[in-house]
């Protein structure tokens, strides 16, 4: 094991994102391509902080219509009723399946919001050059990365509800605009988690200058 803790960047090396081969970067601003897999090399993800902020802000904007607009409209015998995501949770709770209501509440409301807060916190702490809680922040990042896909749950619920309940003229279910914004939140936060570079958490302020931003 390494006796002195040295990062690849401090040693003047770059690790390939794809195949993890260590190589000596080409001189100048552009480190070149990986000699093994041909992938583009980068000390840290390109413009990691700006891109991640842009995606987080876009997702935060979409989060509002995702929760306010209806996701499903049920037409039955001449009457129609629209449900938002929270409405769907309440409906599940009222019909007695509170474990499912809890799953949908966590996956659709709390996880997306939690991801936005967590990514913002990670970005701000990196921008301020924080040296505290690096282990906890790495753990938080892993959690965000792992849990992100589960928010797609409600999109699947709505899709298959719509697909199955098409019993015109008795009863039909139509998707609402809320689904689109909700799917957008999930996709944007998933991409944001990918553009964020967790190595920035571990970089010391002086090693960061070269590739920051």
């Amino acid at each position: 094991m390494a006796t002195t803790a040295l990062t690849a960047a401090e040693a003047g090396l770059v690790s390939c994102e794809t195949c993890r081969l260590l190589s000596r970067p080409a001189g100048g601003a552009d480190p070149g391509y990986c000699p093994r897999c041909g992938g583009e090399l980068a000390q840290r993800h390109h413009h990691s902080i700006q891109y991640t902020w842009a995606l987080v802000i876009a997702a935060a904007i979409c989060y509002i219509p995702a929760n306010v607009l209806p996701v499903l409209t049920t037409n039955a015998l001449g009457s129609s009723e629209s449900d938002t995501i929270m409405g769907g949770v309440v409906l599940l709770y009222r019909t007695g399946s509170w474990p499912l209501a809890l799953i949908v509440l966590v996956a659709s409301v709390m996880v997306p919001l939690g991801k936005l807060v967590a990514l913002s916190y990670l970005l701000i702490s990196v921008q301020r050059g924080s040296i505290k809680d690096k282990h906890d922040r790495t753990r938080l990042y892993r959690l965000v990365e792992f849990i992100g896909r589960w928010s797609m749950l409600d999109v699947f619920v709505d899709t298959f509800t719509v697909a199955l309940i098409q019993l015109q003229p008795l009863m039909s279910v139509e998707p609402g605009m809320g689904v689109l914004f909700f799917a957008a939140v999930v996709v944007l936060t998933m991409i944001a988690a990918e553009t964020f570079d967790s190595r920035l958490i571990w970089d010391t302020p002086n090693s960061r200058q070269g590739h920051h931003g």
């Binding site: 081969l21 070149g32 897999c37 599940l92 298959f160 719509v162 199955l164 958490i201 571990w202």
Partner: protein
Amino acid sequence: METVACPACDLLQLIPPLPPGGKARCTRCGETLASCPSDPIDRPLALTLAAAIVFIVANTTSLMDLSAVGRYASTTISNGAYEMWLQGEKITAVIVAFCAVIAPGAYILFMLTVLLAVRRPPAPHWVSELLRWGKAMQPWSMGEVMILGIMVALIKIAELASVDVGIGMYAIGGLVVLFAAIAMTFDPREVWRRVEWADGRVPSRAEAREPADAGAGRWRRPP
């Protein structure tokens, strides 16, 4: 021994020779750096072949059947996305189709090609491109999320009509298990040892003991 930088925190460290089934973790942040499955090519290949068959079943059979007031309906995965498209939610339909069909399908296809190609090293260089794409598909392939989503939809609909689980549901369940098994038995490092390098070197002669030069202009991928 191989020197790697931790992908999560960039710390340089040596990976000792691992026993079969062993794992190496980053000494600083705990990220898994390497694993050593006992049969890293043939076992995932068999599992991927099984996944390809189950994937076809999952996409061609019905997920659930509904009967209400003398009417009958059933749906498949692609039917779900298509109905969203018909109802005017085209972007959502594309996202659903991507996460439910295209990403898992592409993952199976890329993995199958990669694993077949590396059985006789050195494998041609395009294999590394496919492995890169396969890796990119992984987070977007959402079988386990979809299965939970369908279950919630079933329970919601069960209030209104009687619903039955179709073969497709079991197939997706099988696919979720197979995908997890592929990820566990597969070792990308073994593939990289067998693939021809981008600069034309053959793996056996270009062992990664010393950090290689990233070209410094010697070698560049054509723009």
